[in-house]
């Protein structure tokens, strides 16, 4: 859960940046770069492309703040995630229409690194990483809206309320999609190859 004091400070930092203190934006950048970047990587599945999109996201955020298009009522992280998500989805759609040939094609999950596991045994560590990649591949097979909620809640750490605002659905719908996402993951793990169940609101 994000620290409430941090959120109050976010508003102050944005205000200071608007008043001309560029250091304030730097603090925000360092605070949230991991979450924003992770969100983009999980959508586009390519770290190089994600870095370009991450740059585009932050530059666009700055332009919008300076142009007076940042709504102080909204929180900073969900606002930036929305920009990142839109840019990443636009890229993904263009890529699907005109796929680019890459010099170093990446495997499905090779773009991912996992947080350090507690296993000291290298063998166990390898198994743990393989399991993680497997689960991520299953997440990728979820229905789009369920995957989106799961990614935003679990990896971007947005609240269900923020997700519901971002995706223009009720909180109950967002919770329902998350519930179905987890249920479907379990079904897929238990019966490998089983088709995921779509919720009524999907």
């Amino acid at each position: 859960m994000r620290n409430l004091a941090w959120e109050i400070e976010d508003r102050t930092l944005v205000r200071e940046f608007i008043d001309g203190n560029e250091k304030s934006f730097e603090i925000l950048l360092y605070r949230y770069k991991s979450k924003i970047y992770t969100t983009i990587v999980l959508i586009v599945k390519d770290r190089e492309v994600a870095e370009d999109l991450f740059q585009d996201t932050m530059v666009k955020a700055v332009e919008m703040i300076r142009a007076g298009r940042y709504n102080e009522e909204g929180k900073f992280l969900p606002w930036v995630i929305r920009i990142a998500r839109n840019l990443a989805i636009d890229y993904f759609r263009k890529e699907k229409r005109n796929p680019q040939v890459r010099n170093n094609p990446q495997s499905e999950t090779s773009y991912l690194e996992f947080a350090g596991s507690y296993e000291e045994n290298p063998e166990e560590k390898v198994i743990s990483e393989q399991t993680s990649r497997y689960v991520l591949e299953l997440i990728d097979k979820l229905p789009e809206k369920q995957k989106e909620v799961l990614m935003m809640r679990h990896y971007s750490e947005l609240s269900f309320k923020e997700i519901s605002d971002l995706t223009s659905v009720s909180i109950n719908t967002a919770l329902g999609r998350m519930r179905y996402a987890l249920v479907n993951l379990k079904r897929m793990v238990e019966k490998s190859g089983a088709e995921p169940v779509e919720s009524a609101s999907n």
């Binding site: 360092y30 870095e51 932050m58 700055v62 993680s132 990896y155 609240s159």
Partner: protein, 174 residues
Amino acid sequence: MKQIYSESDILRFLYDEMPREESERFVDELVNNQSLWNLFEEIKEIHDSLPEINLEPSDICVASILNKINETPQPVKKANRFSSVLSYGLPGLLTLIGVVSVVFFTNDFKSKSAPEISNYWNITDTHQKIQGLKTRLESTGDQYWVARKIYGNAYLLTENSSGATKMVSGIVNK
């Protein structure tokens, strides 16, 4: 009425989005409700199996962003009519208000220092000859009130606008 908890409530609890009081009631229910506990364990198991992913952009990427932000010029703030009024009109308005206040205050003070005898009962020359009365009458705007204060319930010897008079008793002795 006993609350019935759903899978959505379990998710809110797992992701720390339940208010504290509700969390405490939820935990009480978990302990005493086996079917809720089974459901909670099932969802928690899947939740715990989700791998941790914590990716960082490269330092070059971050540096590039900061360079671009510093290069992008700050837009010149457009002077809008409202801000122009505030910056130029307000001091003028305040000055005008100050001048008008001074004028009114001065006039008002003058009128108080030299009050006109406009009350119904006029003070006669006889009263004014009594020592100190004239001074007191001049220092206050309410001459009639001063006269009544000095003479108590005595009537003033006055002549009102229609020529009627009232006798003052004991005024000379006082």
